[in-house]
């Protein structure tokens, strides 16, 4: 839910990074956190397990001050990718203004991506959000690894809405800010 606090001159958007386990959602947020200056990126909260899988969610607040005195805040969350975290994934999606779907491009993870996309549709419906209209950006991650599916195949199997998509190597920052810029544009209505 977008919150506009008129006296504080502040607008807050919630963006959820969704996708299968170990696809690179947390890596996206870590790169953003490590790259943006402290005045733009707040503290990053990571709730993970001993094997670095997101247990509940990661949270990274960003703030951008506009020349007219407005502060536009983006609250970035990641959802836990593993299918057995159904309940907590749904809760993180609650009130989201936009979604980034981070797919693992490797051929061997194609089925996991497809299942994760089905979870996304179901979870959005359960938190009363519409998959067909919510701002959505696709990210084809891990493009540097061997055995990746073609972009055409990923588009055909995962990008039913034909929304903008980006190839990425999140661990090196490739495609990370392009994706963020696109979803920021989507939720604010700026193209």
């Amino acid at each position: 839910m977008t919150i506009h606090n008129e006296p504080a001159k502040e607008i807050i958007y919630k963006i959820a990074y969704h996708g299968p386990g170990m696809s690179g959602k947390t890596t996206n947020l870590r790169f953003i956190y490590n790259t943006l200056p402290g005045r733009q990126a707040g503290k990053m909260l990571v709730l993970d397990t001993a094997v670095e899988r997101t247990l509940y969610f990661d949270f990274l607040p960003l703030v951008f001050s506009l020349p007219d005195g407005y502060n536009v805040r983006f609250h970035l969350y990641t959802v836990p990718g593993q299918s057995y975290y159904d309940a907590s994934r749904k809760l993180v999606l609650r009130g989201a203004d936009g979604v980034v779907f981070v797919a693992d491009s490797r051929q061997e993870r194609l089925q996991d991506n497809i299942e994760s996309m089905e979870h996304l549709k179901k979870d959005l419906a359960e938190v009363l959000l519409d998959y067909g209209s919510i701002p959505l950006i696709m990210q084809w991650n891990k493009r540097d690894l061997p055995g990746v599916a073609s972009v055409a195949e990923l588009e055909a199997k995962l990008n039913q809405r034909k929304v903008p998509s980006f190839e990425s190597v999140a661990v090196d920052g490739v495609g990370v800010f392009e994706t963020l810029a696109a979803i920021a544009g989507g939720v604010t209505g700026v193209r």
Partner: protein, 167 residues
């Protein structure tokens, strides 16, 4: 379908802040925060500087949402309150509306009954205010102004494409 926008005007913020200040004083609380279930802060009073209020709110909202979901799965339909008892400080959550929750931080030297009593007085007042906020006739127009302000972000968004240290 939950509201997609929440429009807080100056009068709303003043009334919410006044109610939170009153609650804090009457309940003898350390701090109070009103938050949206998506994790955003709608108002707070006396949050210590040592606490990052954005992170605090994200965790509080998810904690409440998780317990609410757990209750639903157990068949509890009227879930409203969580009490978390710490060694020195306690947390009391009280649902204000389907998308809003009030959280009170208080010391163990304070009585839970006192906190509960004054939350029960404040929650209806805050609930009325939240309901009014969602009924603002000018909300759509105001959010459009917000969008226009947000349009200035275009330059910042473009800067994402060439971040320092990025590729």
């Amino acid at each position: 379908m939950p509201a997609r926008f929440l429009e807080l005007m100056a009068g709303d913020v003043e009334l919410i802040d006044a109610e939170l200040r009153t609650l804090c004083a009457r309940a003898g609380a350390e701090a109070v925060v009103l938050l949206d279930m998506s994790g955003a802060v709608l108002g707070y009073h006396r949050i210590p500087e040592s606490i990052d209020v954005l992170m605090f709110s994200a965790l509080l909202a998810s904690n409440f949402a998780a317990t609410e979901e757990l209750s639903r799965k157990l068949g509890v339909t009227d879930f409203r309150v969580i009490y978390h008892e710490g060694r020195r400080q306690n947390l009391y959550f009280d649902k204000v509306s389907p998308e809003t929750v009030l959280v009170v931080l208080f010391k163990d030297s304070n009585a839970l009954g006192r906190v509960r009593l004054f939350c029960e007085k404040s929650v209806p007042e805050l609930g009325k205010r939240i309901a009014e906020i969602t009924k603002h006739p000018e909300a759509a127009e105001q959010i459009e102004q917000g969008r226009q302000a947000a349009a200035s972000i275009r330059d910042i968004v473009a800067s994402f494409r060439a971040p320092k240290g990025g590729s």
